[in-house]
């Protein structure tokens, strides 16, 4: 109930059936003429390559959208300064998807039919990706997602949807489980958001923990739009050794604060996915209890002492200070653990387009095929998060995972799990599917 958008909550407005049909018919009509337009665009061109960016500008994913855009703009500035793609400049066409699956599918149609984008890119929230990806398949529009959900590698989506720039939850969990049971404790209680992304955690954590010799003693699901959390915490069993938490949405700060208030001085070990505090200042009042707890990070938020030069160059380009906040506003904390995926994905789109000899939208299929044959991606200016291995069959990349400890209000990396230890058997072969 808490997830219903306010439109329907009042029970007074809902789109009419006729209106919806009209929109659909118009969209379908426009889509049907696609091959006709494409016929005239195959000539060698100096026109910019357009990348449609579905931005979570509003709705519950807004903080991610803001930083995804900053990272993407910085990546394209770098790519353009280095000569663009196939000698052509690249530009970002940004549309707000409202962190809403229905709107995101409409945005994809706009990219394909109105703004004539070459590819679509960007989306994070898994319910948005799952809702929009089928439309990308119908439009035959390459859709590069930066979502970290397991839905790409699980085979739920289609040949046009790829996730080459960010690792998925299943591999992240298999990297974390040995650390949890080995270092923190055997009995784990998990707290996760009650929708697709959370289910990836729910379904993959228990097997991974059991394989590592531990046990998940309770699973507590919380709706992503929830605003008050204390009422969920009594479900935590008394014999819990470790709390495993992953939460998203605008109320994450309340979630972590109330967890601290609940436990007081006698907390168990706590291991969180940094999603629970993405875009949130670790020194916010009420978070002092986190000192000594651990977090998974997709990419370290704080500048680490041993950071290589290409990491510093990436951070400078995006505009991050050493605390992982904006250089222009120290209270504007980044979504560091996820947004690097935008930077890397745009570099992969460049590499794919150059390998495919991409000229126009008629070459979209060649682009997908060129990305599918990619494999190793060495750490460097194009891949600042680390060395990765892309699996063309499952459309999913595998990369390093970071475990950080909170010390004095900052996160320091205590363990890095290389990509080799995060690989699991394929669950799908997209390359055997038709386009």
């Amino acid at each position: 109930m808490t997830e219903i958008p306010s439109k329907t909550k009042t029970g007074l407005i809902s789109p009419t059936r006729r209106g919806a049909l009209k929109t659909l018919a118009a969209g379908a009509g426009a889509a049907a003429t696609m091959p006709l337009w494409a016929r005239y665009t195959s000539a060698q061109s100096a026109a910019p390559i357009k990348i449609g960016f579905g931005k979570h500008a509003t709705g519950i994913g807004a903080a991610y959208g803001r930083w995804y855009e900053r990272t993407s703009v910085a990546a394209l500035a770098k790519i353009n300064a280095e000569g663009g793609i196939n000698g052509r400049p690249v530009e970002l066409v940004t549309e707000d998807d409202g962190t809403d699956p229905r709107r995101a599918a409409e945005v994809l149609e706009k990219f394909a039919n109105q703004s004539d984008c070459d590819v679509a890119f960007g989306t994070l929230f898994s319910h948005v990706v799952v809702g929009a990806a089928p439309r990308a398949g119908e439009l035959k529009l390459p859709y590069f997602v930066v979502s970290e959900g397991h839905h790409v590698a699980s085979g739920m989506l289609n040949r046009w949807t790829l996730q080459p720039g960010i690792t998925d939850v299943k591999s992240q969990i298999s990297a974390m489980a040995p650390f949890l049971t080995g270092t923190l404790g055997k009995k784990v209680t998990m707290i996760y958001p009650d929708y697709a992304f959370g289910y990836d955690h729910r379904d993959n954590l228990a097997p991974a923990i059991e394989a590592a010799g531990g046990e998940v003693v309770a699973k507590i699901a919380i709706p992503p739009t929830e605003t008050s959390f204390t009422k969920y915490f009594p479900q935590i069993p008394r014999d819990t050794d470790v709390i495993y938490h992953v939460m998203i949405g605008p109320a994450v700060l309340t979630f972590v604060k109330e967890m601290g208030e609940f436990f007081g001085p006698s907390r168990p070990e706590i291991f969180g996915f940094i999603d629970s505090l993405e875009a949130t200042d670790l020194t916010s009042p009420g978070l002092e209890f986190l000192d000594g707890t651990y977090f998974w990070e997709g990419n370290p938020r704080y500048l680490q002492a041993d950071a290589p030069d290409y990491v510093k160059a990436y951070r400078d380009a995006v505009g991050l200070d050493e605390n992982g906040a904006s250089v222009s506003d120290p209270s504007d904390v980044s979504t560091s653990a996820h947004m690097f995926g935008c930077w890397e994905t745009l570099h992969i789109i460049k590499a794919g387009m150059e390998a495919a000899g991409y000229q126009s939208t008629a070459d979209r299929q060649k682009l997908v095929e060129a990305v599918e044959v990619m494999s190793m991606m060495e750490a460097g200016p194009a891949h600042p998060q680390g060395t990765k291995m892309f699996n063309g069959k499952t459309h999913q990349v595998f990369g390093p995972q970071y475990i950080s400890k909170v010390e004095g209000g900052k996160l320091s990396v205590v363990k890095t799990v290389p990509y080799e230890e995060t690989i699991y058997p394929d669950e799908v072969d997209y390359t055997s599917m038709s386009f």
């Binding site: 958008p5 709705g59 929830e226 008050s228 009594p234 935590i236 700060l253 007081g264």
Partner: protein, 311 residues
Amino acid sequence: MDFGPYLLLAMLEGAVLAAVLALMASGLSLVFGVMRVVNVAHGEFYMLGAVMAWVVTQFLAGLGGGAAVNFIAAAVLAPLIVCAIAAAADVTILKRLDYDPERVIVATIGLLYVIQQATLMGYGPDARPVVAPFNQRIALPWFEFGENGFQMYYPWGLSTTSYKLFVIVAAVVLLFALRLFMTRSRAGLVMRATQLDRDMATAFGIPVEKVYALVFGAGAALAALAGVLIVPIQQAHYLMGGDALLLSFIVVIIGGLGSLAGTVVAAVIIGMSDGIISVFFTPTLAKIIATLAVALVLVFRPQGLFGVKTR
């Protein structure tokens, strides 16, 4: 967790929700009682209260004020600002619709989106925290008869914060003040006169239109006050009005539209049951039961628990 401490925690959580709900729903109920219109934008006034609290505290923090001073200023200024906005909306929109109930519903839906999107454009899509004036964790003791006789201990997780207790006390005081205002003051008398018979009130020289603007503003101010009280616990976010509106409607329908006592009783019932059912079962079940209760009330007692049948 043992049953006893568990129940106490559930009731504390429920009481905070009940306190905020009672304040907010009494605003909705006041507007309906006096003006006989349903304000669908009420949730947005709650959100505006929280957002204005952030704006005020942020502005004063820039001037170097302490958390407590800033919060008191926010608790005074935010409802006043929201009251002014609502009164302006009443004069410019509702008055021109002649307070026709159906058209007012549609107009306030429009107002809902205007306020929500204007907040999005001005304040942005982020959830921003307001620092509580004080916020100490209070571990609560529990008593039991064990092998050693009667003893006291501190169960794991049984705690609340001083600010949450303050919210409960503040809501009780404010509702008591509202009750006194409605029954003992001249302004309350005028409002009740307008509620009973608009035409007769006009005939007796009561400036009904002014009363309407003030009532609409006061209703919004109550919602804003609820928003100010909750924002140090939650955070100010442009979409926070939706759920609050739904719960307020549930409360006023169960309590009886226009009845202040009914609203308070229903808020306590809904808040407590939400807290207890959420803790022992799931929050979704709590919402299912609350909505089911609304359906049953509408079927068997359409005027609500404390409502009076309209003549």
